[in-house]
């Protein structure tokens, strides 16, 4: 019995880093108010400012939503919950300087349930990008951008 308990303890200790990794993955959620986020009104001000070095805005949501309305100048990457779009994201940014200002956005779903922004953010972070923000869309792109009268364009 004692050996069994020791074995169990050993297995638990060996597994601990894996468990910790899983939790830190979940903790990579981007809570509202965190420094990695940018609010719609702030992004709009930035895009409409005369500033030369505007951020590269990447849409990491589904194509049907992008086709209906997207932020002018935003490039379509696709829903980065999927591997193909993540690969497209990697390809798009691989030659960019790691201090390039990038804003990611999706807006498919309420913030806490968006499956796309976290994988995209994590990927850019893993690639060494240091100036990445995620557009905080509380509810969806319709309610939090379009209905506010912020500019959009449609189509690819």
């Amino acid at each position: 019995m004692r050996s069994f308990l020791l074995l169990l303890l050993a297995i638990t200790l060996v597994q601990a880093p894996g468990i910790a990794h899983t939790q830190s993955s979940a903790a990579s959620d981007l809570p509202p108010g965190s420094s990695q986020l940018i609010n719609p009104e702030d992004l709009l001000s930035l895009l409409q400012s005369g500033q030369e070095n505007k951020p590269l805005v990447l849409n990491v949501g589904p194509s049907i939503l992008y086709m209906q309305a997207h932020i002018p100048g935003a490039e379509y990457i696709g829903a980065t919950a999927g591997k193909q779009s993540l690969e497209r994201l990697r390809t798009r940014v691989k030659s960019l300087p790691r201090n390039q200002s990038i804003v990611l956005y999706c807006g498919c779903c309420p913030w806490s349930r968006c499956p796309n922004v976290r994988p995209a953010y994590n990927e850019l972070h893993a690639m060494g990008f240091t100036n990445v923000k995620v557009l905080y869309i509380a509810d969806n792109f319709g309610a939090d951008w379009v209905d506010k009268g912020y500019p959009t364009i449609k189509g690819q």
Binding site: P62, L65, M67, Q68, C109, P110, P115, F141, D147
Partner: protein, 173 residues
Amino acid sequence: MRKLVLLIVVIAIAVVVYEGARRNSHSRGGHLGAVDSPAPQFSLQDLDGKPLALASYQGKVVLLNFWATWCTPCRGEIPQFVDFQNTLGPQGLQLIGISMDDDAKPVHEFYQQFKMNYPVAIGNANLAESYGGVLGLPVTFLIGRDGRIAAKYIGATDLTALQQKIQSLLQAK
């Protein structure tokens, strides 16, 4: 004094009307997909390649659900929608799913996995725009027997309230 009060009331009404008009001008799609308006017609193919046209369900109460396999709130609603089709279908309810997925493959898998019992088609931007724009999921429309939009739900729906609304529409002649 009376004139002053009247003037203030008139100005207040004008401000309210102007603000309402301004907000409407910004709202996506204008009156498209609005409650009480006729439901926009569409004709698509379902996942099996069979025709799926709204017109073929004339006289029924239609629950039109825009969803996607990756959308967590959507996934939560589907089992209840399957149950609605089972229990309320004989009374004249017809569910239609419009998937906003980029790729049909996961939709086929999801359809099997969740034992969906109503037609599903892959949507497109034109259809979404005809319903006022679907710029967030899920979005659900209830269409009455008269072919007019009776209710629109954006985001995860209160399924109890939805069922009550369906039942009231089913009772309407």
